[in-house]
């Protein structure tokens, strides 16, 4: 009996550790999305504030008039803004549930290093939360009024979570950004979104970063080829011209991966990228295929040429316009040539490298009836 009581006491004692951290849900504001921007003058609570932090809190109470509430605060750092928010909030803001982090374009252009430091350090923030850059200001997305459920936070979250399956938009998580920001020969890319009158938010393309600083953006069409070149796990649709037709087009629903080889000659790199695309031909001009195996091969070849041409254009832009290795080929060079590569300015090496791009398409299927 005494042993049982002792055991019971110890079990209860071990559980009692949570008493200090117990919280009444009624006194907690659960945030689901956080945004970071450069503050406007009227938004600064004190001179010298450099960041505007906003969190989206779903309103769960009955008889609510609004779906969400946006809590804004500004500060010299994110921590300082948090302190400012605490001075004005009657509820403690719980950040465990934050799954989406949005960054304004202007702040991203200045660099996210200072903003993300507190995010990386905070063990409570999910490392698989999705990131996105917002064209314009991120807080404007949070403040968008939607007519009914789902709320804007859920819309943004679903858009970022589901898109890898639909349109070659890579899923960029906090962990991905961290690895690309600090890993040698790597640079992050993050989905670029904007406000939309119909759905609330929409994908606009990809934001390209040089480590923590956004250096450019590409539109939705170019995004497909950048995603394929990076070898990201994503699916999407590519529409390409059919061979021997002036206006006919085919549509591939496909996924891709890549094979990269980097050869170094001193500080000069020769990079070869083979994009391998596998998918179904879901749309093609009436009567074009006629069940011909030869025609299908011709279509695959035409699709491959089209993808390769677009990928080459994307590579040229990366080398000449953005001058940044958004394809993470430096990490592959590092794996092949070791630490000595780390002494090089890899983005410069990449910009001056000779890069060969080829694409191979494998058509897995071409439909059920025709």
């Amino acid at each position: 009996m005494r042993r049982a009581l002792t055991t019971l006491f110890l079990v209860l004692a071990l559980c009692s550790g949570g008493c200090w951290d117990a919280r009444d849900l009624a006194n907690v504001a659960i945030a689901t999305v956080a945004s970071f921007d450069l503050p406007r003058e009227e938004e600064k609570t004190k001179p010298g504030d450099r960041v505007l932090v906003a969190v989206l809190q779903p309103v769960l109470s009955e008889g609510r008039k609004e779906l969400v509430r946006v809590i804004k605060s500004s500060g010299r750092t994110v921590g300082d803004a948090r302190s400012d928010r605490a001075n004005r909030s009657f509820r403690m803001v719980e950040i465990n549930m934050v799954r989406t982090l949005l960054f304004g374009e202007a702040l991203s252009g200045k660099g996210l290093s200072d903003t993300l430091d507190i995010v990386y350090r905070n063990p409570l923030i999910s490392y698989h939360g999705e990131l996105a850059v917002v064209e314009g200001r991120a807080v404007d997305v949070l403040e968008l009024k939607t007519t009914g459920p789902p709320n804007i936070g859920e819309r943004v979250g679903s858009l970022l979570m589901e898109i890898p399956d639909s349109n070659f938009v890579p899923l960029a998580t906090l962990a991905d950004f961290h690895c690309d920001q600090f890993g040698f020969g790597r640079n992050p890319v993050v989905p670029l979104i904007s406000r939309s009158d119909v759905a609330g938010v929409q994908i606009r393309g990809l934001a390209i970063f040089k480590k923590d600083r956004m250096v450019g953006k590409v539109d939705k069409e170019a995004m497909k080829y950048l995603t394929l070149l990076r070898g990201e796990q994503a699916r999407g649709v590519i529409t390409f011209p059919l061979p021997d037709r002036e206006e006919g087009e085919g549509t591939l629903m496909c996924t891709g991966h890549r094979k990269v080889e980097v050869k170094m000659d001193g500080e000069k790199a020769e990079i070869s990228i083979e994009v391998k695309v596998t998918g179904d031909l879901v749309e093609v001009e009436e009567g074009f295929l006629n069940g011909s195996h030869e025609k299908i091969n011709q279509v695959a070849e035409a699709a491959g040429e089209y993808i390769a041409a677009n990928c080459r254009e994307m590579v040229s832009r990366l080398q000449e316009e953005f001058m940044v290795d958004a394809l993470n080929t430096g990490a592959i060079a590092r794996a092949g040539y070791g630490r000595k590569i780390e002494k090089l300015d890899w983005d410069r090496v990449f910009s001056q490298a000779g890069i060969k791009v080829s694409a191979r398409v494998k058509i897995r299927n071409y439909g059920a009836i025709r």
């Binding site: 550790g17 949570g18 999910s126 962990a175 070791g338």
Partner: protein, 363 residues
């Protein structure tokens, strides 16, 4: 101690006790600690560091097989003489208490970071110390059973770790050995904390039934731990790359944070709770050996077991509160790792050499 204990442990029991003593909360940091020197070759450092407990097992087995019915307190008395012998025994007790205290403190830091931010650290340390005290006040067979039970409890964590393979890239391990032998060897010190524990054999040897199987059981325990740690280092490095891993504080939990599991959602919280057992069982096993050694060295009879347990628990609790912050905890655990290697290799070497020279043997 001599002849006072009945033979109660099987070699399997010993293997589980050794695993419990080695695998404490430090394993959640093993990759980032080694990667600070060895970069993406951290896994090689982790694997190579297994040589130390293996060498320790050989040495301790060699020493104890000369004194099959004696534990450390008695052996050191006989080999070194009463005063230096007792000094050695008390040094072992001090080291063991410090090791147990750091195991408890590391979990306290983990819990304060991930789970219970507002709960005072001393409360968590006190609760764990009380739990450990209850366990190490029992006999060794009960503790062995507990370590075996918790061993199986922790194994499902493999699933959680293997799920992280989805973001693994084998190229993050290339080129193998690129960080150089010196850095790989330096990196081994990051793994010491997770490999010390073989010194418990100095105390447990007389309890083990089949002495011929001691070495094999110990080697199996070390091999399993080495496999576990090396797998961890490989998965973490493949997922993040050597340059990023060294930035982490709790690399293992960072890995688990990279994906979300249905139902469990935030798996890192779940894992952190389960890992509390690591601190508890490591502290309990280590303190049991301290209890036996202090009783043997000071000649305290079994009648005063509770008092000895209370003194040890109070000491461990105080030591767990000694580091002022997490940085000091990391520094102290480095000292514990180095002291552990000395206890595992230096002490048995010294005693065995002197015993051979003086031709001493147990009865």
């Amino acid at each position: 101690m001599r002849g006072s204990q009945s033979i109660v442990l099987t070699s399997k029991n010993f293997a589980f006790l050794l695993i419990a003593a080695m695998q404490e909360v430090g394993i959640l940091q093993i990759t980032c600690r080694t990667a600070r020197y060895a970069g993406h070759d951290a896994w090689i450092s982790v694997l190579l560091a297994a040589v130390f407990p293996l060498a320790g097992l050989f040495l301790i087995n060699g020493l104890c097989s000369r004194f099959p019915r004696d534990s450390l307190a008695r052996i050191s008395d006989r080999v070194l003489g009463p005063v230096p012998g007792k000094a050695v025994s008390f040094a072992y007790v001090a080291y063991t208490m410090f090791n147990a205290a750091m195991a408890i403190r590391l979990f306290t830091e983990l819990a304060n970071s991930f789970l219970l931010a507002k709960t005072p650290g001393w409360v968590l340390a006190l609760l764990l110390t009380l739990g450990a005290a209850y366990i190490f006040s029992r006999d060794i067979a009960s503790i062995a059973w507990m370590t075996e039970f918790t061993y199986y409890l922790i194994q499902p964590l493999w699933i959680v770790l293997l799920a992280a393979l989805s973001r693994a890239d084998y190229r993050n391990l290339l080129p193998v050995g690129d960080n150089g032998l010196s850095n790989i060897l330096l990196g081994m010190q990051g793994a010491f904390l997770s490999y010390i524990g073989a010194e418990i054999l100095l105390v447990l040897y007389p309890f083990i039934q089949n002495k011929r199987e001691v070495l094999r059981a110990g080697m199996l325990a070390v091999a399993w731990s080495a496999f576990f740690y090396t797998s961890l280092a490989l998965i973490v490095t493949m997922a993040f790359g050597g340059g990023v891993v060294k930035l982490f504080v709790w690399d293992n939990l960072a890995l688990i944070k990279t994906y979300h599991l249905p139902v469990i959602e935030r798996a890192e919280f779940f894992v952190a709770i389960i890992y509390s057992w690591l601190a508890l069982r490591a502290a309990a096993v280590l303190l049991y050996t301290a209890r036996q050694t202090i009783s043997g060295a000071a000649g305290v009879s079994e009648k005063y077991r509770r008092q000895v347990v209370a003194i040890l628990a109070a000491g461990v609790f105080a030591l767990a509160l000694l580091p002022g912050n997490f940085s000091e905890v990391v520094q102290y655990t480095k000292y514990v790792g180095l002291a552990g290697v000395s206890m595992m290799l230096g002490l048995p070497s010294l005693l065995w050499t002197l015993a051979v020279i003086r031709g001493l043997r147990g009865t």
